[in-house]
Amino acid sequence: MTRRRPIRSLAGPIAGIALAFSGGDAVAAPSWSSPQTIARPTCPAKVLRGLPPTRVVDLHAEQNARGDRLVAWVEQCPRGWRVDAGGGEFALAANARGEAVLAWKHQSAEAGAAPVVVAALRRAGAPRFDGEQRVSAPLVDVQNAFGGHDGVHPTPAAAVADDGSAIVAWRGADASAPDCCSAIEATVRASGEAFAPAARVSAPYRHNPATGPAVAMADDRTAYVACGSPTSTASIRPRAP
């Protein structure tokens, strides 16, 4: 059993995402600087001897134009002999001012519950993320190409424009038929507003490919979504209101 710590800056029993902020200085020396420790995992120090160590299963870093950095990671704390190396992945995106979007799959502790995609926002210079918002319907595990169910839900993708407009996209379920199909869904937000209701932005995929979407957000607030499939390219150009 592996216990995932609650998120420190956000409410909810999701995989623990820890955050660190550091100020940067422009240095001209043409080499690597000496490594510095900026944080330590937050798992309890007292663990039973012989258990596997704390594992950081995903880590992302962004920095703004001044060099202020935002680092986020997911820890898995040892509690038993088994450590689940999968899961816990998330998306982090920031703009030049340091506004950031965090998006992750929230797995409820309720037995049999499907994960949902949750997003949160950080204002420039703010010490924490807030505005946590569920943006997706439950992610349904559709059939893979071999007729089975692997329970894999690709990591969502996120991007944020310089004015704070943002997009989050994920692979959701197309409810047009039972046990079929998956499709890419996305939601956008205008600066200062909440994320809009999700919209399907791709044709349905008969099966459940392992890859998620890629997103980008241009300075004119145009959001882009791309996704792979065996046969076609799908895209959308939603515009934040």
Binding site: G24, A26, V27, S31, A61, G67, T211, S229
Partner: protein, 189 residues
């Protein structure tokens, strides 16, 4: 706007393609590499795209193959191709890392001058059992705009790392060791 996609038969993406937004629709995708090319990785994963100065699209991907063979020996490779904005015709695919080493991971970004920065984890072969082989990380290294390798800090027991660069002034590597999160800057790029 350039976008990469993986194409192929699930679950093995068989090609890397790129397309760009032409105002009202995406252009027909251009295939940059496929599993029919030689040397042929079994699949392509982790595609990425960076927009360099002048708008050229720098498309990068990992050719998945035997992790315990060097790229020169048809092992796992980290390659890229540039697509000039004016012609849209991709230039020749090239390796983004030295081809005589084993690797345990890669990251890429543009620096503040919009030069491509590649960071990788040098690795050593490790056989957890008689059938498998994987690479364990030994040290970080980097290359700026295809230049010579810049030896970086030793890597502890880590697989999670990230490279933060533009719009910040200095590319910054962040990585996780079992009991600490560490950071190092690549200045002078």
């Amino acid at each position: 706007m350039w976008i990469t996609n993986e194409y192929g038969v699930y679950p093995t993406p068989g090609a890397v393609t790129a397309t760009h937004w032409e105002g009202s629709a995406f252009a027909p995708p251009t295939t940059l590499v496929s599993t029919t090319d030689w040397p042929r990785p079994s699949s392509f994963v982790a595609p990425g795209i960076l927009l360099a100065r002048g708008g050229a699209a720098l498309v990068q991907w990992v050719g998945y193959a035997d992790a315990c063979s060097t790229p020169a020996n048809h092992g796992q490779r980290f390659d890229g191709a540039a697509i000039p904005l004016d012609t849209g015709a991709p230039v020749e695919t090239h390796s983004l890392v030295p081809v005589d080493r084993l690797y345990a991971g890669y990251a890429r970004a543009l620096d503040a001058q919009r030069q491509p920065v590649t960071v990788w984890l040098d690795g050593r072969a490790f056989a957890p059992d008689r059938y498998g082989c994987e690479t364990l990380p030994t040290a970080f290294a980097a290359s700026v705009d295809g230049g010579p390798p810049i030896a970086g800090p030793p890597a502890g027991d880590t697989r999670a790392f990230a490279l933060a660069a533009a719009p910040g002034p200095t590319p910054t590597l962040v990585w996780a060791e079992p009991r600490r999160i560490r950071l190092a800057e690549l200045s002078g790029s």
